[in-house]
Symmetry: C2
Subunit: 450 residues, 2 copies
Amino acid sequence: MKELRPVQVILLGFLITIFAGSILLALPIATQSGQATPYIDALFTATTSVCVTGLIVETTMTHWSIFGQAVIILLVQIGGLGVITITTGMFFMLRKRITLGNRMLIQESMGLNTMTGLVPLVKKILIGTGIIEGIGAVLYATQYVPEFGIGYGVWAAIFNSISAFCNAGMDIVRDDSLRSYVTNPVMNFTTMGLIILGGLGFVVWKDLWQGFKKIVKDKVPVKRMIQQWRFQTKIVLSITSFLILFGTILIFLFEYHNPATMESLSLPQKIQASLFQAVTTRTAGFETVAQAALTDASSLVSMFLMIIGGSPTGTAGGVKTVTFAILVFCVLSVAKQEESITLFKRRVPQNLLAKALAIIVINLIVLMTSVLLLLVFDHGTFMDSCYECVSALATVGLTKGLTPNLTIAGKVIIIITMYLGRVGPISMAIGFSQKNKKKMVMYPEQDLIL
Amino acid sequence: MKELRPVQVILLGFLITIFAGSILLALPIATQSGQATPYIDALFTATTSVCVTGLIVETTMTHWSIFGQAVIILLVQIGGLGVITITTGMFFMLRKRITLGNRMLIQESMGLNTMTGLVPLVKKILIGTGIIEGIGAVLYATQYVPEFGIGYGVWAAIFNSISAFCNAGMDIVRDDSLRSYVTNPVMNFTTMGLIILGGLGFVVWKDLWQGFKKIVKDKVPVKRMIQQWRFQTKIVLSITSFLILFGTILIFLFEYHNPATMESLSLPQKIQASLFQAVTTRTAGFETVAQAALTDASSLVSMFLMIIGGSPTGTAGGVKTVTFAILVFCVLSVAKQEESITLFKRRVPQNLLAKALAIIVINLIVLMTSVLLLLVFDHGTFMDSCYECVSALATVGLTKGLTPNLTIAGKVIIIITMYLGRVGPISMAIGFSQKNKKKMVMYPEQDLIL
Ligand SMILES: [K+]
Ligand SMILES: [K+]
């Protein structure tokens, strides 16, 4: 254990959690029928849960017993909080003190500048998560209890709330996700609220909470509170708002006349459904309209939004809003022939630029490889295969119908893609590379013609 | 004229050439029937010629008269040599001396370090082009003259040779490109040779020619000659070889059992056809197998190769091999947690990294926008639309059959995409941006969590 580097701890932690989950789910007790699930499907389900992807090969409501569902939602909760729960869990499990290196890893990935109290921090995050998921569960219960009775209604509401906040996108009440609630505002806005909050990430939660306290307690004006937010928070909130607005408008336009999705809805319902589609691609994976019925144009917009995904240190996947911001502002800086890359009057350091570039490139490479393998080893169309792989890589969980019909090879491809998507292919690359000892050799700079 | 910046000269030069060509092609004399071509089709044909794309709405052999064909191949020759012919042409046309700024532009884009003689350089390039295209024409003539007689055979051979060296991919002997020559080694290897040479670019031509002279005249050993090549040349040759090998193997695998393309061919013919497909995606656009019949897996590999395209300062399009090299080595450096991005023991400067990133991002944005618009305004499937737009943006000219059936809106979308692809969307962005006067303001560096 001593020789594992922090990033390897995370890679291994996710793997162990997945395999432990798969064994529990392969037990006969985990299914309603009492028959053991084939191991590949148990593994697929454990992976989709820990990676908070939400692509499913068996309908969660009908196939799994309450025990199975409990295992799934526990895996979702562990996987959703990701680095924090996995790493601290790994160390408690191994009865080891959290070493300085790993402490730094957690702090760096959570955006903390101080070395103070990790344990209080983890506690705060868990309490905050509990409160938000509790509120979500109450709201869901107002709809589920009348429909399913007190017992299953409350269970379904808790399941749904954890699943939404963790951006997992699974539910235990239907086999068509939230399609029957497309016109129900409580279901729509509860789900969207949880998805967005979960996807904003820890740094933003902290700023939002402190801002809220300042306004309520210290009567600080809103404008001044916003000024005090961290740069990261401002970027995340602007890009997230922009993406949701942009997505809603385009999907509204492209689905307005689509009889298979929104044509029959009223204008406000159309807007609500478009908004939901734009929000769910922030890698949640619930759907209120059938993804297979979307126009190709909407599907392309959805894939674009999925690849970008949520924000760093949150429960969402994708290459992340901050990476997207750096890419866009790099283009603007190069177009203006500026000496350095600037982002809202801040210089982007070279190593950050390189990391953003590496993230986008390696994600594209993994995506293409995954689509290519799926085309070779499975039977989907090009569009359906692209949608499936984007969904798996960005841990979204939306499908055009391929998932339940995947061959074994296809399932293996998607399992690997989901894992890579959750740990981040760049972490994988770092984990498997030998760290280059900072040599004294400084290679000469080399200009090239592009 | 004085106020135009160099990059704007190029943007405008291409535009003027396209519009002049479209007017000539719209004349009744340009068609075999003597009937004027609709202007949108004349504009499409002029654009596809100047941008050396090769997507065509009218069969070049049957629709256009010898005059029309001559206009087309002249536009191809001008567009193929690109920056050099367009800019020098612009200045001769405007009877202006070539200013220092524009001299520097040409030199920079040609990778010259010295300020000596532009005119002798342009002469050398034209003579070299003439010699290579002459050899190509003779080789084509050995096949075309027996088939079409001396007159049309020679004309077709010259047309084909220019078209191949300039990576335009048009011909005047068939309406199915080179499919009937799929088993003909002279046609295959002449075409591949011209495509590759044209796509390597000026810097490499210079090194290859000087290396050739050294070996013949000075009896320098090959190994030492290679050591003396510029870094750019080594990168271009390694990446080009890698891409061709990689493409050939995958396409061979994915088409081996495809009855619509290669199943009936012998093993060496299968290899030859796979090699041709891998080479033609270096943005030439000739085809020996029907693109519409390719498996989805081969189509994806082909799109990947097309997006990368050829090498800088050559006749090919795409984001270019050198950009691709920087992207890949950036991932490797980040994975190894190196302090700087290194490429074969050379450091990549920050501005080069930013430019590579900007090129890949803006190309992806233009590509997605183009596919989205085509899906909305035309009737192609997702795969066919992706293939068409990749082909247009990377100036390739391969199609799965969409081009001749495009609506007017579709034609406009493809025309704009071809133009952007040839001038490079990043040049466009630079041309339209106000150059940021180097301010004394140095913004603070800002770290972010990705
Ligand atoms: K998800
Ligand atoms: K071409």
